[in-house]
Amino acid sequence: MAKSNKPIIWGTFAAGGEVVSLITPVIIVLILFAAIGRPPSALGYEQLHAFAAWWFGKLVIFGIVFLSLWSQAHRLRITCFDFGLRADGLVATVFYVLAGAASLWLILILSSI
């Protein structure tokens, strides 16, 4: 039997799972600080804008968001299957297209900074 090409999907899913479990909680805490008007001084608007304008900053932001989107698309696909929605091809297409479209949108946003 031929070897599977599943690693393309699973690799990003697994990497995204790591990102979501390790980095997303930190981002949520930082956003909570920002929401009450007390972001840490090193993470103020000016500093973060400068980070996002830097090419490596763009790369980091893209990596985090792209991997999170892809892993959650795959997670939702599997969850649908587990809840009995067995039209897997359709479900997969919808979620992966959404993740892909959002990634393209992110590239547009990052390139305009």
Binding site: M1, A2, K3, S4, N5, K6, P7, I8, W10, G11, A14, I78, D82
Partner: protein, 252 residues
């Protein structure tokens, strides 16, 4: 020696009975069995077979969690009947053959599918460099042993297959125990057969059918943790894939 009196208990068993030669449909039969409180479910079944109904059919051999023969569903969970203690089951105990397998008779599941899959993944040593008898034994450090020892604990009891919802949905899935055992040899310092095994493992029917539910690891009576083995195989297969497609000059 002091004579220890064990407390008695009348255990209520609901056992799935099926004899393809007589009745068409499997049906539950209710039995009331006089038991000692420290007995396991297998003891109760043995009492039943010896004293009540000799036609009751089930597999068992060692009675000490080593042979892996007496796997069955006990109150809906895959268990070794010799490891399921009566004291943990206060009410009526419902006993069925292992889920996801065809039934041969009563509590006996047909294991052919598992055995065939086990064969496919070559769960035996394929030495990387063959040694002659004169050269002596293959030597291994305790650290090298530790790399695979946990996965070598598998006793082929098939509880993980009965617990795995993916195997229930996709019977072609090679499954937890077979992949864990293949992984056991892949991690062995003496072995050189990984490329051969990957032909089976790195396929859609192989490790990629697994969605990491983890039920296999919860029911495993020998703490093999098949789910961990499969995740490790996935990571290694993903690295393989990228090497094969983008860096074919790098040796795996």
């Amino acid at each position: 020696m002091m004579d220890v009196q064990l407390a008695e208990r009348q255990a209520e068993l609901e056992v799935l009975r099926y004899n393809p030669e007589i009745a068409g449909e499997p049906k539950f039969e209710r039995y009331s069995v006089p038991c000692k409180t420290e007995w396991c479910v297998l003891d109760a079944l043995n009492y039943l077979k010896d004293n009540v109904d000799p036609t009751l059919t089930y597999r068992w051999s060692c009675h000490m969690q080593v042979c892996g023969s007496c796997g069955m569903m006990i109150n809906g969970e895959p268990k070794l009947a010799c490891k399921a203690m009566l004291r943990d089951y206060p009410g009526v105990i419902r006993i069925e053959p292992l889920a996801h397998f065809p039934v041969e008779r009563d509590l006996v599941a047909v294991a052919d599918d598992f055995i065939a899959k086990l064969k496919r993944v070559k769960p035996y040593l394929i030495p990387s460099d063959k040694r002659s008898l004169e050269e002596g034994e293959y030597r291994q450090t305790p650290a090298q042993l530790k790399r695979y020892r946990q996965f070598a604990m598998c006793i082929n009891c098939m509880l993980c297959y009965a617990a795995c919802p993916e195997y229930g949905l996709h019977p072609k899935f090679i499954g937890p125990a077979a992949i864990s055992l293949a992984h056991r040899y892949n991690r062995d310092s003496r072995d050189g057969g990984r490329d051969e095994r990957q032909e089976e493992l790195a396929t859609n029917e192989g490790v990629w059918e697994c969605t990491f539910v983890g039920a296999c690891s919860e029911v495993c009576p020998k703490h093999v943790d098949p789910a961990a083995a499969l995740q490790q195989v996935k990571v290694a297969s993903t690295v393989d894939w990228y090497l094969e497609h983008f860096m074919s000059w790098v040796k795996k």
